[in-house]
């Protein structure tokens, strides 16, 4: 374990992310408020107004403009961060591709919220899942501590000279963003030296070396740029692991590409993202006490998805239940399920798999939901038969 330097606090997820931003002290931030992410920038702009961060805030008229201003500031040579949720991320859609295709290491705190319509402000993953293929790095967080830790690490990952990719740090709306938890802040100096000075690459403001951003790339070169992007995405996981090692030295907290919980000797397993993983771990413990060998895998680096490593961690199981807090309409299964299925595709012998859609629009994920899934898994492992491959749970018929 590394040397700890922080202090224990009781804060909301949003407060923790705002604190991480204050400690990193980016050069520029452009943001537009949207529930439940609003509080991050509300708190951060207060830090800026009170001189506790030197960031230049650009208060814009929409998320489309927010991400556009972030792109301009990043291309100019600044360290840049912003925050949003749901429709706000959707309004950033075209700029998300421009940020990644232009290889600008912009950091975005995404407070996961259900996509409208029908209009809803609560936590689910349909916003982040909708943006999963836009060439950004995605780190998902179970609680306020992980959101804070991921936020700090994301700057080092995104700005790594081998990558230069934008990154979004995801946490569940309201469940984490607005709930107060005990967690640990690092010292300002520890964070400052961990993220280091921002290094520029081809900054627009270097007038001695003029550059052009955003040229037209047609049939002769577009495919080569996409191939290069696929290549840089393949380098992300090693950087994530290296940065996690350094982060452990200042925090004492360990991070990997994903978290496993009682999985090594398990026969059945649950795969689940973010806050619901915490609830599920309690159910895993309860079933372990009854002698049922169940474990859990919680992805952290969701994009690029570490297919080989996740497949390796799951392949020994008899049966897996993937719980998705979003549906991929018309795609047969939820988005997480499809990735997990893809990790096991290369193996001849693979676990039986089922998919459950839960918690949409902030619907509570209760311990009994996890317990039912585990009980069903145990039955599937015993009989080798799956009754329902995919179903919605916690929904009224």
């Amino acid at each position: 374990m590394g040397q700890k330097s922080g202090k224990i606090v009781a804060v909301t997820g949003n407060e923790a992310v705002a604190e991480a931003l204050r400690q990193v002290n980016p050069d520029v931030s452009a943001a537009y408020p949207i529930t439940p992410a609003t509080e991050i920038m509300q708190r951060f702009t207060a830090f800026v107004s009170n001189g506790k961060a030197k960031t230049e805030m650009i208060l814009v008229e929409s998320e489309h403009s927010a991400m556009s201003a972030c792109i301009g500031a990043s291309a100019a040579g600044g360290r840049v961060a912003t925050s949003t949720s749901a429709q706000g991320l959707a309004l950033m859609w075209e700029e998300l591709f421009i940020a990644s295709g232009t290889r600008l290491p912009i950091i975005l705190a995404l407070v996961n919220r259900a996509m409208s319509a029908p209009l809803n402000i609560h936590g689910d993953h349909s916003d982040g899942m909708g943006a999963r293929d836009c060439g950004w790095i995605q780190l998902w967080s179970e609680n306020a501590q992980e959101a804070y830790d991921n936020m700090i690490q994301s700057f080092r990952i995104a700005e790594h000279m081998d990558l230069r990719l934008p990154a979004m740090v995801c946490m569940d709306g309201f469940i984490i963003s607005h709930s107060i938890e005990r967690m640990e802040y690092l010292d300002d100096e520890a964070v400052k030296s961990f993220v280091g000075e921002f290094k520029t690459v081809n900054p627009l403001l270097d007038i001695e070396h003029p550059v052009s951003y955003g040229p037209l790339i047609l049939t002769d070169y577009y495919m080569e740029y996409r191939r290069a992007h696929a290549e840089v995405m393949s380098k992300v996981k090693n950087v994530v692991l290296d940065v996690a090692k350094d982060f452990e030295k200042i925090s004492g907290r360990q991070y990997g590409l994903f978290e496993t919980y009682r999985l090594d000797d398990a026969e059945i397993g649950i795969v689940i993202l973010n806050s619901a993983a915490g609830t599920t771990k309690d159910a895993v413990d309860a079933f372990r006490e009854k002698g049922i060998k169940v474990g859990l895998l919680k992805p952290r680096l969701f994009r690029p998805f570490p297919y080989e490593e996740v497949g390796e961690a799951l392949k020994h199981l008899k049966a897996i239940c993937v719980l998705d807090r979003a549906d991929a309409f018309g795609g047969s299964y939820g988005p997480l399920f499809m990735d997990i299925a893809a990790t096991l595709f290369p193996y001849k012998e693979k676990p039986l798999m089922m998919n459950k859609i839960y918690g949409l629009g902030g619907r509570d994920y209760l311990p009994e939901h996890a317990e039912n899934a585990i009980a069903e898994l145990a039955e599937v492992a015993k009989t080798g038969q799956i009754k329902t491959f995919k179903e919605y749970i916690g929904v009224r018929e």
């Binding site: 295709g101 070169y221 080569e224 290069a228």
Partner: protein
């Protein structure tokens, strides 16, 4: 020109060589070609002012022939040309004739 492979590209398609647009010969886009008829030219420079590219060559205050490496054949110069006594100094001809 030999096209580069994906490993040779600058990240993010950033152009780091100033003025490199000169190397992009857009004249190949042309379907109609402007023809300069010198005896009808009054050297008003309308064509030079209206050209959306820089395809009118000018030396010592006088226009010369077109720079066909960059003329896309838009025809604006031919439209704006006042000519001499009703005779245009620029006319458009179909490429390849």
């Amino acid at each position: 020109m030999k096209l580069k492979g994906w490993k040779e590209l600058k990240p993010g398609a950033v152009v780091t060589e100033p003025g490199s647009a000169l190397k992009f010969k857009t004249g190949s886009w042309r379907a109609f070609k402007p023809k300069w008829i010198e005896e009808n030219c009054i050297q008003c420079m309308f064509c030079w002012a209206y050209c959306p590219d820089m395809a009118i060559t000018v030396k010592d205050g006088k226009r010369g022939d077109f720079d066909y490496d960059y003329c896309k054949g838009c025809g604006i110069c031919a439209l704006e040309c006042p000519g001499k006594k009703g005779n245009k100094a620029i006319v458009m001809e179909e490429e390849g004739r």
